[in-house]
């Protein structure tokens, strides 16, 4: 058992936000974390109200992540780690500042909206010696780890093709002006990267994590299918992995009926393997012909 609960801060995650609440639930599950500080919104009024919702002491309801990093690093009872749950485009600021202040980071995916921002975050994390956790939670799933270990051990043979997709439907309708979140993700200035940056990274990470392959080249068709949509809401991408394997990939947020359909297929010389996350217990293993009988 722990001597004390870990002290968690949160950047973003105020009233009306989605992923901050998920991080808080996750932090509560094992009873070993305590949320004690936050810069929960860039809007001062919303930040104060959100901090009160969470029962934070007023002096730990910070006005922004820069102040929070400074103030918490200076306290004897400062936060051990911060959860960064701002829009992806805004990760880079806090994701550099907190490691620099000696504070561990749990950062929501996707990492960043540009390559430069991602590299700055990686450099700060490495220099700090602090933990930097990007929440690609799929890679903690035992089934995924088993699939990765199997692929590394040559099962199902040499991989020649990987298919992935991440499908949601919450952007299927024109953005509701009253829906802050959809608004934010559908605003090019704020979203950063459309459906690929928003969710496509999940499937792409999974594809690389399991197969051990890294993308070398791609050809993409990014579309804004919903009238008035200003960012890509559906993307289809052809991939060539280093070493010559090929891939195909779809990320879409107007796929009506898919709440969060993350699926993956690996085709190897000895067989295939499919995985669909909406039913994570379901694995379809396609055996080679000589161990299969038609009927």
């Amino acid at each position: 058992m722990m001597e004390r609960r870990l002290r968690l801060g949160m950047g973003g995650g105020g009233r009306g936000a989605f992923i901050g609440a998920v991080h808080r639930m996750a932090a509560r599950l094992d009873g070993q974390w305590e949320l004690v500080a936050g810069a929960l919104s860039s809007d001062p009024g919303r930040a104060r109200a959100s901090a009160a919702d969470r029962g934070l002491a007023p002096e730990r309801a910070h006005a922004g992540w820069a102040e929070m990093a400074r103030a918490e690093a200076a306290r004897a009872d400062g936060i051990d780690a911060v959860a960064i749950v701002t829009p992806n485009r805004l990760h880079a600021g806090p994701a550099v500042a907190f490691p620099n202040a000696g504070i561990h980071v749990v950062c929501d995916r996707s990492l960043a909206a540009t390559l430069a921002a991602g590299e700055a975050i990686a450099a700060a994390a490495k220099a700090s010696g602090r933990l930097f956790v990007l929440t690609h939670i799929d890679s903690a799933c035992p089934l995924i780890r088993q699939a990765r270990a199997m692929a590394a051990a040559g099962d199902p043979g040499e991989i020649h093709l990987v298919q992935a997709e991440d499908l949601q439907d919450w952007l299927a309708a024109p953005a509701d002006p009253g829906n802050r979140q959809a608004d934010g993700r559908a605003d090019p200035a704020r979203a950063g990267a459309g459906t690929v940056g928003d969710i496509g990274t999940h499937a792409l990470h999974l594809a690389s994590y399991i197969s051990g392959l890294r993308v070398a080249e791609l050809a993409a068709n990014l579309s804004s299918m919903v009238p008035g949509r200003r960012v890509a809401d559906d993307a289809r991408i052809l991939l060539r992995f280093a070493g010559g394997a090929r891939g195909m990939f779809r990320a879409g947020q107007l796929a009506v009926g898919h709440e969060n359909g993350l699926s993956l297929r690996i085709c190897g010389t000895e067989g295939g393997r499919d995985r669909a996350q909406e039913n994570p217990d379901l694995r379809a293993v396609t055996p080679p012909a000589d161990s299969r009988a038609g009927c």
Copy 2:
């Protein structure tokens, strides 16, 4: 009941061929066809032996399709129809000659290896007034017809995306020199068009048939994945349909574990619809969020 059984001829389909035997089984099922003539192989010895296998009268074991069209058209008891089951690249010759001789045609898919050949066949069929049946058998399936009728009636809404795939694994291993069929389909001179021409047309036809959409533009990545393979054995294709809908498509013959996996997904503004042929009774209908409850 019929007064007499229909008289069928066959072009191609000799010993060692695959699809000719399937056509013969299909022709036998209802007991209303009788195979009475054939030009079963371009190899004279194989043609004779194959005709004997089938119990054809010697004078109706023709040396080639040109002779068969002429001779059968001249007989009082000549064939009513011919099944053309040669390699796809060789369809155009008989598929023009038989309609010109007044004989109905059942032609195995894919229609042809080039646009010019396909147009010549279409023109001959139209001019002849004879039936020209291309065996896209999926479009005879009641489920497919229902899906097509539903799409035409606006269910599931306006279609913005179509995905299709046709996966087999019989070309997963390097071509066996002793396997005539794989040899033929893997020889650029004889196959014509690799995996897209061999099976990709099946899924593409199905996508168009159900959705009512026609492909306007495409970007493709055709690969020869198996060492030594000289035609494409896997293809991934991005589509843009007339009217603006998008699509994505894979046809592959090295997908180990897939005997004949023809599947289709339609994404519309009101829902989605998936179909997978390996289990043709299985339909997954993905309802919109407001009629769906999480759990």
Copy 3:
């Protein structure tokens, strides 16, 4: 190749019958059978008309199975085998007479309506030295044979429980007076045995065939659920197999939505195995906990 086609007779299977047409399609598939004789109906007019439909020579359109067995056995070109496709209750007569006349038998399942009838058939078949084929076609399926071989080899361990079901829905509504077949199967005098005799034997055979277990004791609840129905249209049965394994079993013909849902589950000490025939390509293998990871 064969020197001549096999000569088939048929007992039952006249106009309006269901399973006779299925036997005829099956006999046509490989082109090595020819239907040349029949006693297609117990109604003389229907027998004659049905024989004409099938193109039988008038002298081989027999008035009944007894006459057919006698006459065909006496001909030099008499039938090699007979397909018995009468209602199950009426199998015993021809199924004894034809072997006695030296004619091989293909008998539609279920074998008989009573134990005595079944034993008489078995004795006649054994004494005649002729082939007696009961059309439990599932046992010809490679997947089933593989499952049987696996069970015999101790995979998945010692079997302690078997579940089976056969569900149809064609008796879900009250019998239509104009529907001969439903009428026959729903008439206690003609059906013999209700849903268990009609289809339950299929699942039970499959359960025994795969597991190698034989039923020793049972407790059953046979129900007539549809108002006015006079035979059981749904049966649920608890089983005890010789050796101590247990089982559970349902056969029903009012299971709306199930066209022909034959499924089977085997629970062994080392794992489980499920099979569902409506999608015969689908096998769900449930691995033991130590090879399975939660997610």
Copy 4:
């Protein structure tokens, strides 16, 4: 937002227990409960150690549920509610005492091991005016509520048959003497009721909850399949519901490969509905024949 967090006590759930930890995770999820008191084990040493694990104040680490009910009811900051997570056989004591002391109860299922105990609990709950929550969590699932509402509204017609099953595999092997939990549930004196009492109530509750039907009669075969097992580890039960519908039911804890397979089928005059909890997002709706097309 709440003015204060609710104060939770726990009866049972000490070191080595399973379901107490699940209740604690559930209580943490929304951040509105605080565990402040407990009688975590009947073993004094384990109770003390377990209370320390949970950070309980020593004066609220009670020696037993009777003392806890008395002491907590007397405190100004006494618990609002207690979670009863003892073995099912031991529910009745605390489940009567706490309501009598004016304390709300969250009681883990199954309710009790005998009818008399269940009725005593029900009477105490009713007399107290306090909330008594039995954790049939499935009935909080939106899909289940929708299915119940649909059945109540006559969809899919009049229900004539209900099938249910709850399958686990954690008792598949002989009880490990070092595994307290399996030991407890496999000891007739302590388990109370074997697999039906342990998990069968889950599926049976679900069947009644969705269908609105109540069991009137049953015939059961309870088996101890694993050598040395002293309670039933597998049960198969035929049901007759009030009103005439029938049912069939299996609960087993040696079904290798099933982590927690709770499934349900309802057959009605207008269709069928299946649900399987291991994949709770998966619903198979079987439509009637006239809206279904074969293929």
